[in-house]
């Protein structure tokens, strides 16, 4: 089953000289796939990922999520899809510095109508799944980079998404932590999760099913 399908995606950043960041990109991702995207800096990887995550809209072309065209969706519908279908992992973790590990993991659930009693037990479960059951009440400042990224992984799972988008999740980590994160993502993928990951690291990319190479806004 195809979970995400792009047909001739175009993204033009307007400016003095309109910049074509995506140039007729077509690809399709099967449910349960673990895909890595590689390419030189500025080739449009993040741009593509943002469109796949409904954070941004393409200038042209079509993007179907679970077979549904997304072009005509309003912000409310896009937000709902993003909330329930997509989990994000960022290079710089993007945790809330004032919230505890537990509250950070619980945060996406706060935007759903999961009952308040269910939220924290589920967050605890997720923390255990990434091996942070002993750090529940620490804040991100008290954690190592690797631990932070594990919190982010747990957070991305909070609303049981159908797809995880990770933009250079190991970009800020040493090789040991990077390997840990890759192992974690592989475990998730083994459990059936679709993962699309941008990376600059060949070793990391080698651990995925398929690697998409990009250059100047095109898939090569």
């Amino acid at each position: 089953m195809v979970i995400a399908q792009c047909k001739n995606l175009i993204k033009i950043y307007p400016g003095a000289q309109n910049f074509r960041a995506l140039d007729e990109v077509s690809l399709s991702i099967e449910s349960g796939e673990f895909v890595s995207i590689m390419g030189p800096s500025g080739c449009g990887k993040s741009t593509l990922l943002n469109i796949l995550g409904l954070l941004d809209e393409p200038t042209g072309g079509e993007y179907l999520l679970n077979g549904m065209p997304t072009a005509k969706l309003n912000d409310v519908r896009r937000t709902k899809l993003r909330r329930h279908q997509i989990g994000f992992i960022f290079q710089s973790f993007n945790l809330m510095p004032r919230l505890s590990v537990l509250e950070n993991i619980a945060l996406p659930m706060r935007y759903t109508n999961v009952s308040r009693e269910e939220i924290l037990p589920r967050a605890r479960e997720l923390a255990a799944r990434v091996g942070l059951e002993k750090k529940l009440h620490s804040t991100p400042l008290q954690l190592s980079g690797g631990q932070c990224q594990r919190v982010a992984c747990a957070r991305s799972l909070a609303n049981k998404p159908s797809m995880i988008l990770a933009d250079e999740p190991t970009g800020n980590l040493d090789s040991k932590s990077s390997a840990d994160i890759l192992t974690l993502l592989k475990e998730l993928n083994d459990g059936g999760m679709t993962i699309i990951m941008v990376t600059h690291d060949l070793k990391i990319a080698a651990g995925t099913h398929r690697t998409i190479h990009m250059k100047d806004g095109k898939i090569v």
Partner: protein, 421 residues
């Protein structure tokens, strides 16, 4: 996001930036203090006026004349008024010098102090009589005989409010209540302007919070009542027209206008057609008081509104700064599934929490102002509606002023917000 979560988020942020939060709610606090002060005084004034109207009874009217009135005229006029009406004449105040023996009673340091004397009729106590009487009151016999008898007015002991400005020193005035607490005054002979009087009664006024009359300003000079006729004998002379107040209480609102007509025509028949007594109905008087109270408080309210606008701009300013410094956070929250509404509410709720802090601080300030600035705090009651209204005003102000910046934040595109560092 649910309200408790929004409030928890807001509170965390406010707490994390205590100084900034404090500065921004300070202006709100000042505005609320002004409102709280004004509303407290206003509510007190209203309830007082209501009570005053109640105790004065229905169909009460007053007028003044500069012609001397006699007992014959009293009886004549009383007959013409509706049955059951009360009629009372009271002279204006006359200043008398206390004589021998009496001197020691009223002095301020070494300085001799006089007293004020009113000539009254026994019917004086028919309306709004709220005294406790020791001895007896002036009776008709005293009036007929022009007796030299005195009823003393004794104000109650009241806890003296500490004056914050301190220029008004009451400390060294020896008041009647101080004196009467230690001395037996009934039946004592006293001299006023070389005339010997006998004290036959002492009126004890209730404390100010229980005194519901409209005009119950405390006198710091000893106040004495003597028979109406005695007063005329001693303190008026041919060359000087002294003023007499005439008070009629008919007991019914409906008969008051009639009584006013009777009174006017009677005075005309006695003193000629140029006599044009100005009749003041008690109900109108109350209304006038209410109007005056409102007018003076309107100015205060205006100041309060200005302060609230300043406070609102403060809130708006801080909300804008907060949003600017937390753009990245907005992006992250959007990526995690926050809708525009969630973002809007997050900042509005945070601002309203700030407003609430301002309201609490403002009410404490306002309450202190009431305690220290209001002329008369004895009747000050703590009313919940004033608290509720102050909180409401603060919440509405911060809501309105936070709305625009919060809307700007909600409008941000997720990618653009996320790119912000």
């Amino acid at each position: 996001m649910r309200l408790p979560d929004l409030m928890a988020t807001g509170w965390t942020e406010i707490w994390a930036h205590k100084m900034r939060s404090f500065l921004s709610f300070f202006a709100i606090a000042i505005g609320i203090a002004t409102f709280f002060y004004t509303l407290s005084i206003l509510s007190q004034k209203y309830s007082r006026l209501h009570d005053a109207a109640e105790i004065a009874g229905a169909g009460r009217l007053e007028t003044k004349t500069f012609h001397p009135l006699t007992l014959v005229q009293y009886k004549d006029l009383k007959m013409r008024l509706p049955e059951g009406s009360s009629l009372s004449f009271t002279t204006e105040a006359s200043w008398v010098q206390s004589g021998e023996g009496w001197n020691t009673l009223f002095h301020k340091g070494n300085q001799l102090v006089g007293s004020i004397v009113y000539g009254i009729l026994p019917s004086f106590k028919d309306a709004d009589f709220v005294y406790r009487l020791e001895g007896r009151f002036i009776n008709w016999q005293d009036v007929e005989n022009k007796s030299r008898v005195i009823v003393l007015v004794v104000f109650p002991h009241e806890k003296k409010k500490k004056e914050w400005h301190g220029w008004w020193e009451r400390e060294n005035v020896l008041t009647l209540e101080d004196y009467s607490a230690h001395h037996h005054l009934l039946q004592q002979q006293v001299v006023l302007n070389n005339q010997t009087f006998t004290v036959v009664g002492i009126l004890h006024l209730p404390t100010q919070d229980k005194d519901l009359r409209l005009e119950n300003k405390r006198e710091w000079i000893p106040t004495l009542y003597i028979p109406f006729t005695t007063w005329y004998d001693l303190y008026s002379n041919e060359n000087e027209n002294r003023q007499v107040s005439i008070r009629v209480v008919t007991g019914k609102e409906s008969t008051a206008r009639n009584a006013a007509g009777t009174l006017t025509s009677y005075l005309r028949s006695q003193f000629g057609p140029e006599e044009k007594p100005e009749i003041e109905f008690f109900r109108d008087k109350i209304e006038k008081h209410v109007k005056n109270a409102r007018k003076s408080l309107n100015n205060m309210l205006f100041m309060g509104i200005i302060a609230m606008i300043a406070g609102g701009i403060g809130i708006m300013n801080v909300t804008m700064a907060v949003i600017f410094s937390r753009t990245k956070e907005i992006g992250i929250r959007r990526a995690l599934g926050a809708s525009r509404k969630d973002i809007l509410f997050q900042f509005v709720v945070e601002a309203m929490l700030l407003g609430l802090c301002g309201a609490v601080a403002g009410m404490i300030l306002g309450y202190m102002a009431v305690l220290h600035l209001a002329e008369d705090t004895s009747q000050m009651t703590f009313s919940w509606w004033v608290v509720a209204l102050s909180v409401l005003i603060a919440l509405v102000t911060s809501f309105l002023f936070a709305l625009y910046p919060a809307w700007q934040a909600a409008k941000l595109k997720p990618v653009e917000a996320l790119k912000n560092e």
